[in-house]
């Protein structure tokens, strides 16, 4: 029987605390976690509880059980408001939520939650050493939401529902004013409108062409050296040609 197995079965809480701390310091999170789980109730209200609760929450964090660590760290923060570990715990609890945020193409409930928690941290410790990392995470989460809306709008263009695509890109540009994907959005909006105008009945072509050209101008104005310049110019030409065809009919 190893020391660990003996400790697990033993009734000696102090020994478990000591051994658990050793495991914790050695980075053996799993073993420490199992020992701490047994003794947490025994230490409730005692002076050692602060350290124990912190370590217990941190084992969850290090074991990448972010769902639990987010919750435990948050509880630690509210139980020990004057703890010297408070800043770190608050940050890591927010980071735990960040880790739970799923890929952009799934529901983003956790992403929004994580943003809120990170913002609360920044408000509480505006000069924290963790500030750069927190900001980076917020940015990343922002981008996730942006990417989600962008990809949905882009998919409408792929499945040839150009109208829905244009509308969604317009919503995107309103909802994310400083979007990282702004250039791409402006381009794909132009692309969808060009497709729409081309596939239109004659009566609607004129209007859609006008709109398309205004979308071209919007792109080129904001991004004069856009990586899509060649393609965009091609589309503009395509839109203008549309007019010629129509004129020749008259």
């Amino acid at each position: 029987c190893s020391d660990f197995q003996k400790a697990l079965k033993s009734e000696d809480t102090a020994m478990k605390f000591k051994l658990g701390t050793e495991y914790y310091d050695a980075g053996k999170w799993n073993k420490a976690h199992r020992l701490f789980a047994q003794i947490v109730p025994n230490y409730a209200g005692k002076p050692q509880a602060e350290k124990l609760m912190y370590m217990y929450a941190m084992t969850s964090y290090n074991m990448e059980d972010y769902f639990t660590s987010g919750y435990r760290l948050e509880r630690f923060v509210s139980s020990y408001p004057s703890s010297e570990k408070r800043e770190e715990a608050l940050f890591l609890s927010a980071k735990s939520y960040y880790e739970l945020s799923p890929i952009f193409s799934k529901e983003q409930k956790e992403t929004i939650e994580a943003q809120e928690k990170l913002q609360l941290f920044i408000n509480a410790y505006p000069t924290s050493q963790y500030l750069p990392e927190a900001n980076k995470m917020i940015k990343e989460l922002d981008f996730k939401l942006e990417k989600k809306a962008f990809e949905i709008a882009k998919q409408y263009n792929t499945i040839r529902d150009y109208k829905a695509s244009v509308k969604s890109f317009n919503n995107f540009l309103l909802d994310f004013p400083g979007a990282t994907l702004r250039e791409d959005a402006l381009f794909y909006r132009l692309k969808a409108e060009t497709n729409l105008a081309t596939a239109s009945i004659e009566a609607l072509k004129e209007d859609r062409k006008e709109i398309g050209i205004s979308y071209y101008n919007a792109l080129v104005k904001s991004f004069p050296n856009t990586k899509y310049l060649d393609e965009a110019n091609e589309m503009k030409a395509q839109l203008e040609n549309l007019q010629i065809k129509e004129d020749s009919k008259k």
């Binding site: 890929i103 799934k106 989600k148 949905i152 409408y156 792929t158 499945i159 529902d161 829905a164 509308k167």
Partner: protein
């Protein structure tokens, strides 16, 4: 009390509590709200309130207040109370034992409960009504209480005796109407939905009298008049006549009034649709009999959310904010002029369309299925269709998909919509081991219906398998010492992501060995291998309507025999190839739940055929047939080796490339006949033919009718058709039939449709037959059966079920086998 004058005021000196009560005086006084030193008025509010408060506590049977020791303007108050008795034991007579518990619970007759008059009365009334509702009109209920004598407890307690005399069930002998000239008794009786006269063949509804139902039915009678233009009709009186033979007769006197007709109908406020267009939907013309019920339905049919009515005309074309009100503008004589006032509002467009709750399935899989898209006109029909189609994907709980309209803005004419979904398990794992066929058989089956192929190398996506891209992947391995089979299939519903082209592929390979009677093991020298590959592409059509699905597939099978003689061929060494093309057209608008559809229909017609090799390969099949026929005529024992070889050679040539065509048709309808009851009639037909009669109908691809319909181990393209009540495949010859047809009628009732498990019961009536030759085919010469069963669907296990079927006809070749029962276990979905 004598000498007290009403209105006199006294100051309370002291309060005492007397009488038979178990409560402490202090509690009673505090509860009464009276205090020492207070002024009270004789007959005034304070005393009155105190009585009320105490009475409301439901603890006392009597409460009296006395003014005692009145001196000048002060008095003592005496509160005299008697506790209500507590319930000790209850005895119930006149009902079965099992019912007693139920009665005790429903009336809350617990030990220690205070027995008030109210309790006795409500118990009596409750029971009387309960039995009356079930048709025991003469029910008499007696509730008697008796004090418990020699009680060791000081409180007063009583025993209760509930005597129930249900009497005979009272049936309605006749329902008669008085003063009805315009509508016959029969017609009016028919209008009464729940109150029916006694009738020998009435099965579904019994002729019992239930007062509530009767009252409802009187309304139905009036409605029947209203539907026929008698707007003023009313029921004057209704009476029950008790007959001597324990039956009753109902007599209903009506006043019919005048018949009304529709006069002019004007539409007011319509700009989008012309009067003619609206009229075409309304379908009511001047001079028609006035029918208020129908009018309401034509404006908005509450029962059919997708019905053709005026409201839907607007709602399905963007006018979300529209309202429609019919107003009677004049009723001159018996002619009613109507004005249908329409407020159209602005057409509404979807602004943002979102999905929430998809923590497994990726956005792109969901958004492409939703028919309401940003910038599109609002349409209720599109929302309904989207819910249906999301449900049919099978990734979400179909019952829980909820669209939520957000931020409706009548000024801008916009709205947002959010579809709330709830993920459900859609993977199945099968792991089996067991003895059968002379050895151990192991099976491993995996089926993932929301697979993500691109994440197959992403180890983080394994929770427990990569999911969320809507692809399906199935893998199945089965092995014993005599056979091994392997099959794999994959499909992607939106191949290329641009259009709903479903690409599906499947691979299969099987290998079987003969049993060696000497070693009792597999003989590896005798083997039969079948390998197959199928590639299919299917696409949704937009014409004739967008429920159609066109599918095409190319499949190839190779049969390789090594010293292996089967009933299929006359050769033991050789190969046979089956290359065929299948084209099918399906229309499926069943809704909503794919496991338990309650509406819509599902049709499919398909044709599968090979190339007509005999037209161009210059083989003289006539000669080959003659050779085989001639040799086949000789009993096998008398054939020479040369003849056997010649037969084998001839057959090898005939079956080198299989030549055939096969046509199938299938149709299912689902209709909700009563609240939850669903009727499913279905019909199917299949035919396998040959281009060249000398080559004949191939021994593959045949139909096997009868039994549970589960395709068991066979890769010769056979189709196993379910026909319950008969043993498996008993209705076709051993080699399989080339024509079959089947009719079936199934009535289903859901027991639960929760997310954890969906369970429904069913009864069926079916008939079918199969023959080897089209000449012998008679679609009405059926082998019939009937029975009942149960289905359980659990996401992790798929569909499981059991059916008991009784056959009405003999199994071919087994005279006298009719009338027997057959039990079938069903695994997997049956269509």
């Amino acid at each position: 009390q004598n000498g007290l004058t009403k209105g006199a005021t006294y100051i309370v000196r002291d309060i005492t509590v007397t009488g038979n009560t178990a409560y402490s005086p202090q509690t009673v006084i505090t509860y009464s709200g009276l205090r020492k030193g207070e002024k009270v008025v004789v007959g005034g509010e304070k005393i009155g309130d105190a009585v009320k408060k105490l009475w409301k506590s439901n603890l006392f049977s009597s409460i009296d207040f006395y003014f005692v020791n009145i001196e000048n303007d002060s008095t003592d108050l005496e509160i005299n109370l008697n506790d209500l008795p507590e319930l000790n034991e209850v005895r119930i007579e006149g009902v079965k034992k099992g019912k007693k518990e139920e009665i005790l619970n429903e009336n809350d007759l617990k030990k220690g409960k205070k027995v008030t008059e109210n309790l006795i009365t409500t118990t009596r009334n409750y029971l009387t009504n309960k039995y009356k509702k079930n048709g025991f009109l003469n029910t008499k209920v007696n509730v008697i209480t008796r004090k418990v004598d020699n009680d060791s407890i000081e409180k007063e307690r009583v025993d209760m005796l509930v005597n129930i005399n249900k009497g005979e069930k009272v049936k309605i002998k006749s329902i008669d109407f008085v003063n009805n000239e315009k509508l016959s008794d029969k017609k009016l009786r028919k209008a009464m939905k729940n109150t029916k006269q006694k009738f020998l063949f009435r099965v579904l509804k019994r002729s019992k009298y239930v007062e509530e139902d009767f009252k409802d039915d009187l309304v139905s009678v009036v409605d029947a008049y209203k539907e026929n233009g008698y707007r003023d009709a009313r029921v004057l009186s209704d009476s029950i006549i008790y007959n001597d033979d324990e039956t009753i007769s109902l007599q209903i006197a009506v006043e019919e009034g005048e018949k009304y007709t529709f006069g002019k109908i004007d539409f007011v406020g319509n700009t989008v649709y012309s009067d003619q267009q609206l009229m075409a939907v309304l379908r009511i013309e001047e001079g028609d009999t006035y029918n208020g019920v129908e009018l309401r339905k034509r404006i908005a049919d509450e029962e059919k959310p997708d019905g053709l009515d005026l409201t839907n005309l607007y709602q399905n074309n963007g006018y979300m904010f529209s309202t429609i009100n019919p107003v009677e503008v004049s009723a001159d004589g018996n002619v009613i002029d109507l004005e249908i006032r329409i407020s159209e509002g602005k057409p509404a467009y979807f602004n943002s369309v979102t999905v929430s709750g998809n923590d497994v399935t990726n956005d792109h899989v969901i958004y492409r299925e939703i028919r309401t898209r940003p910038g599109m006109l609002y349409s209720r029909a599109d929302i309904i269709r989207s819910i249906r189609e999301l449900g049919q994907l099978g990734y979400f709980n179909a019952q829980a998909i909820a669209p939520e309209i957000k931020n409706p803005n009548p000024v801008e004419g916009t709205l947002d919509i959010e579809y709330k979904v709830e993920e459900q398990g859609s993977s199945q794992i099968e792991l089996q081991g067991g003895y059968g066929g002379g050895g151990f058989i192991g099976t491993l089956g995996l089926s993932f219906n929301n697979f993500s192929l691109r994440n197959i190398f992403n180890k983080d996506a394994y929770k427990p398998v990569p999911r969320g891209d809507g692809q399906s992947l199935a893998l199945r391995l089965q092995a014993s010492q005599f056979f091994q089979t392997f099959s794999f299939s994959f499909s992607e519903p939106w191949f290329g992501g641009e259009k709903p082209y479903q690409l599906s592929t499947s691979l299969s390979y099987s290998r079987q060995f003969r049993f060696d009677p000497l070693s009792r093991r597999a003989n590896k020298d005798q083997s039969f291998n079948i390998a197959g590959i199928t590639l299919g592409l299917s696409t949704r059509l937009s014409k004739p309507d967008n429920w159609f699905l066109l599918s095409q597939a190319i499949s190839y099978q190779n049969y390789d025999l090594k010293n292996y003689f089967t009933g299929l061929f006359n050769f033991g060494n050789g190969t046979s190839n089956n290359l065929s093309y299948t084209i099918g057209l399906t229309r499926n608008n069943t809704n909503v739940d794919p496991i338990y559809p309650t509406g819509g229909s599902n049709f499919s017609v398909s044709a599968k055929f090979s190339l007509p090799y005999s037209l161009f390969n210059n083989v003289d099949y006539e000669a080959l047939r003659e050779t085989s026929d001639a040799i086949n005529a000789i009993p096998p024992a008398q054939r020479t080796q040369a003849q056997t070889d010649a037969l084998a050679a001839a057959d090898q040539e005939r079956f080198r490339w299989l030549e055939f065509y096969k046509v199938k048709f299938k149709g299912d309808w689902y209709t909700q006949v009563a609240k939850k009851l669903v009727l499913r009639p279905s019909v199917e037909f299949g035919f396998l033919g040959a281009y060249n009669n000398d080559r004949g109908i191939i021994p593959f691809e045949r139909f096997f009718l009868g039994g549970d319909g589960l395709g068991n181990f066979a890769l010769d393209g056979r189709e196993v058709i379910q026909l319950r009540g008969y043993p498996n495949q008993s209705l076709s010859s051993g080699d399989g039939a080339s024509v079959y047809n089947k009719f079936s009628l199934e009535l289903r009732y859901p027991i639960t449709l929760g997310q954890g498990a969906k369970i429904y019961a069913l009864t069926f009536l079916e008939g079918g037959n199969s023959v080897n030759n089209f000449k012998d085919f008679n679609p009405f010469d059926l082998k019939r059966s009937a029975g009942a069963g149960l289905r359980i669907f659990m996401p992790a296990f798929g569909l499981l079920g059991i059916d008991f079927g009784r056959r009405f006809d003999d199994i071919p070749g087994q005279a006298g086998s009719r009338g027997n029962w057959e039990t079938h276990f069903i695994i997997g979905q049956q269509f």
